[in-house]
């Protein structure tokens, strides 16, 4: 944060679908992590471009990297299209590595250095034909950046031995050929920006996780007992992680027939006493809205992870948006208490998913963890998550027979003692309005008291569990940015170079830290709201909760990430008018 001259190296890999862009990118990202660098990577699948063009950008630095970068230092072009589409995204003196065995038209420019590598020949010699071109290119790129072959070799062996030993062998050969070729032909050009950091010989490498993976790990670390998830971009990786670890950690994962079933199964399991979760994107959440309110009415704890993508309808399935905030705050008929948390990166996704399981149990109500596609699918490196400070909290919970038990007993904090079937306590978890035992009722007095009891839980949660929002940067600033979700990383990177700008990062959407937000924003000289949606949904929420109207908004709804460069432009344009 304080390092104004942070040197971030950005490598972009492009090719058509099937050329292994993602696997090559992940190898490069992991290579950088194991060499001691901080890493942030992201993938783009521009689905409208013929041929299924895929791009992945890997960014690394000796300091923490928090966001994708608009411009890159190097392009690893597995095909012509990558050069044509992305050459303008190269920084001055940028580098392009391409396959000199195929018919590539190199643009006439002196701003870029081209390195042609006989990738097809290397791939063929290694025994894998076209499938090995990406690995040969990776070997060449890492060589040019001053990398260490044995780290790469270890990684390749680990990854491809999962398939078979032959695959590992041929990939090592191809990588080695690319690596050695670069060393021989261009030894004078070899840099040192991916050379293993000296002090890392004894270090524990960072973990490289996407937000989806982190949320799934957070669920496991939070004592998950049951998850039912129907696949949907961008949360499918949550499902994959949970499916593959269930036997080891002794929870149940089930892929149901649809999202309606997913949330109802999770509610059933939770009613039976299991810590339960489901996950989906906006479209699936539409189907879940009836179950959302069912959990609220029956006071059944449940965590719902909602990974936002471009919408409405099928929308932009592989791109990002922050258009569902007001939806999750209001979905379902009528009123019930809901807790809505919005992580800003993978680490927050881990922590808040884990916390959500505790909050759901404590307040016996649905908790939404609202992610966006960029958080879900971008990878970021972190020191191993610390789980030592976490304590499982089931709240008011009875698992033995109790005389005159009342499931919905009125209480000052709105929370009644929860019991489960099978322990001998009679109760009805009732979707109809009900009395303290759960019997259906339409009695006016009971209805009012029951409504007040349920809604009271939010006030209790606000008082007992909601932290103050985090303000990054100086306490007093000329410009205060307020935002949420994956914009966090880009904003933090952008304000590194602007000591007169601070950032109010909001993660608690309901209950909402109205008092503190009002205090900060009403004192601020100039406030800019940054969001990836059309209607500035966070700004609306802030106005609703605090009365503060934010006039200056930077909104983006093209599905693409907000880059740090764009935020700096915005800061500079505002700065000129102050």
């Amino acid at each position: 944060m304080v390092n104004k001259q942070q040197k971030i190296t950005s490598i972009k890999i492009g090719g058509y679908a099937g050329q292994g862009v993602k696997s090559t990118g992940l190898l490069l990202a992991k290579y950088a992590v194991r060499s001691g660098y901080s890493v942030y990577d992201h993938t783009e699948f521009p689905s409208l471009i013929k041929g299924g063009h895929n791009v992945m950008q890997v960014n690394f630095s000796e300091e923490a990297v928090l966001a994708p970068q608009k411009m890159s230092d190097m392009l690893i072009a597995l095909n012509q299209e990558t050069i044509d589409l992305h050459i303008n995204e190269l920084k001055p003196k940028g580098i392009i590595i391409y396959n000199s065995d195929s018919n590539i038209n190199l643009p006439k420019t002196k701003k870029v250095s081209f390195y042609g590598i006989p990738l097809y020949r290397f791939a063929k010699e290694a025994g894998g034909e076209e499938l090995l071109i990406n690995t040969a290119a990776l070997g060449a790129a890492i060589s040019l950046m001053g990398g260490n072959f044995s780290i790469l070799q270890n990684l390749i062996e680990e990854e491809f031995n999962k398939i078979n030993s032959e695959s590992a062998e041929t990939n090592v050969k191809a990588a080695k050929a690319g690596f050695e070729y670069m060393k021989e032909k261009h030894s004078a050009d070899i840099g040192r920006y991916l050379t293993p950091i000296e002090s890392v010989s004894s270090f524990i490498p960072n973990m490289l996780v996407s937000g989806s993976e982190a949320a799934a790990l957070g669920a496991i670390a939070g004592g998950l007992q049951f998850a039912a998830i129907y696949p949907m971009s961008p949360i499918s990786n949550i499902l994959h992680v949970l499916a593959s670890n269930q036997e080891k950690f002794g929870y149940i994962f089930k892929q149901p027939e649809d999202e309606i079933s997913a949330i109802n199964m999770a509610i059933g399991a939770s009613f039976a006493g299991a810590r339960s979760l489901t996950a989906t994107s906006g479209g699936g959440f539409c189907l879940m809205t009836e179950g959302y309110g069912l959990a609220g009415m029956t006071e059944t704890p449940i965590v719902i992870i909602e990974g936002m993508r471009g919408a409405p309808a099928t929308g932009l399935p592989t791109w990002s948006e922050q258009g569902d905030l007001q939806f999750v705050l209001h979905a379902h008929q009528g009123e019930f208490p809901r807790i809505v948390l919005a992580p800003g990166d993978a680490k927050e996704a881990f922590e808040l998913t884990r916390l959500a399981l505790n909050l759901a149990d404590k307040y016996q109500t649905p908790v939404v963890v609202l992610l966006d596609k960029n958080i879900c699918e971008n990878d970021q490196s972190y020191p191993l998550f610390d789980i030592s400070d976490f304590r499982l909290d089931m709240g008011k919970y009875i698992n033995k027979e109790t005389e005159n038990y009342m499931r919905y007993k009125f209480s000052d904090d709105g929370i009644s003692e929860r019991s489960v079937p099978g322990v001998g306590n009679f109760f009805i978890s009732n979707s109809d309005e009900h009395d303290q035992y759960g019997y259906s009722t339409e009695n006016i007095e009971i209805r009012n008291k029951m409504m007040e009891k349920r809604m009271k839980k939010l006030t209790t949660c606000e008082e007992k569990d909601m932290p103050e929002p985090k303000l990054y940067g100086p306490e007093k600033a000329d410009i205060t940015i307020v935002s949420w979700g994956s914009n966090k990383g880009s904003i933090l990177q952008a304000i590194q170079n602007h000591p007169n700008v601070n950032y109010l990062h909001l993660t608690w959407m309901n209950p909402f830290p109205s008092h503190k937000v009002k205090e900060i924003l009403s004192k601020a000289k100039h406030v800019v709201d940054i969001e990836c949606n059309y209607t500035a949904q966070l700004a609306s929420l802030i106005r609703e909760k605090t009365g503060v109207e934010i006039k200056d908004k930077f909104l983006k709804y093209d599905g693409r990430q907000i880059f740090p460069e764009e935020i700096e432009e915005k800061i500079n344009s505002v700065g000129g008018t102050l």
Binding site: I220, F226, F249, I252, L294, N430
Partner: protein, 285 residues
């Protein structure tokens, strides 16, 4: 005979006099008393419709969910706690209109559930509209000139979807219904009973008299283990031709018996394993 007092709640049934739900309620209570179903071993789930009121009249822990969603809730309960007897009360509108998809998949997965379908062949709680099981031509408030749609066949659907215990009962024959509920509950896997019940207020076609005159019990010669025979039998429905009893029954491992690993059979008692989680993190380095 044991006392039925332990099942009594402060709520009195709100069904119409003569409603088939009263018979189903009575038969279920008899079965519960006989088998000792209580709050230590049994849980009930219902959807929305006249049938769902039953939960207020049985002092057994229960979950009253949403219209059509009783099966997924029950599935979640059974997966989380396999020791519980899980009963699903659902109606023909609840189970086959709003909840049709869940029914197919619950049968396919063969969860260890007992499903009691209160089948009055129309929507009664909403004051008499057509349901997916209403006969063609039935005049209801939503089909004043007669139902233009054909009903589908719940028994055939259950059999082809993979249910391992498929039966039909008539609510008015309470002793038979009681023993069928007991037998269904003993079956390991999904047990579906389509219970024909008159709606005395809105369905003037399917009356008690109609069912008494037109139903018969599958005899001892009928082989319920033959799937093809069962499918053929399930097509039979007409004057003096409505079979009752177990159409199909096969022993096949239930989802809970076959799909869960040892570590997943007792999830309510699991504890967090920090050591294992730290190991898991290392997979991402």
């Amino acid at each position: 005979m044991k006392e039925s007092g332990y099942l009594t709640t402060p709520c009195s049934p709100t069904w119409c006099p003569g409603c088939g739900n009263l018979n189903i309620w009575g038969a279920f209570k008899s079965a519960a008393i006989e088998q000792g179903w209580n709050n230590a071993n049994t849980v009930l789930v219902a959807g929305i419709g006249c049938h769902g009121h039953i939960l207020n009249f049985l002092k057994l822990t229960s979950f009253e969910g949403l219209h059509g969603r009783a099966l997924p809730v029950a599935t979640g309960i059974k997966l989380a706690n396999g020791d519980l007897n899980v009963f699903v009360f659902t109606g023909d509108g609840d189970c086959f209109g709003e909840g049709g998809n869940h029914f197919i998949h619950a049968c396919r997965r063969n969860h260890n559930l007992t499903v009691l379908i209160h089948d009055n062949s129309l929507y009664a709680l909403t004051t008499g509209q057509t349901s997916p099981l209403s006969p063609h031509g039935l005049r209801t408030k939503s089909t004043p000139t007669g139902n233009p749609d054909e009903p589908f066949n719940p028994l055939a659907l259950a059999i082809i979807s993979g249910a391992t215990f498929v039966a039909r009962a008539y609510a008015g024959d309470m002793p038979k219904l009681t023993s069928l509920i007991v037998e269904a509950n003993k079956h390991r896997g999904i047990a579906v009973i389509d219970i024909l019940q008159p709606c005395v207020t809105y369905n003037k076609t399917f009356t008690h008299q109609f069912f008494r005159e037109n139903t018969y019990y599958l005899g001892e010669k009928y082989d319920p283990t033959n799937r093809e025979e069962a499918l053929i039998k399930s097509q039979e429905f007409g004057t003096k031709q409505i079979p009752l009893g177990i159409f199909y029954k096969v022993d096949k491992p239930s989802y809970e018996d076959s799909a869960l690993a040892k570590t997943q059979k007792n999830i309510l008692k699991k504890s967090i394993q920090p050591q294992a989680i730290n190991e898991l993190f290392k997979n991402y380095t």
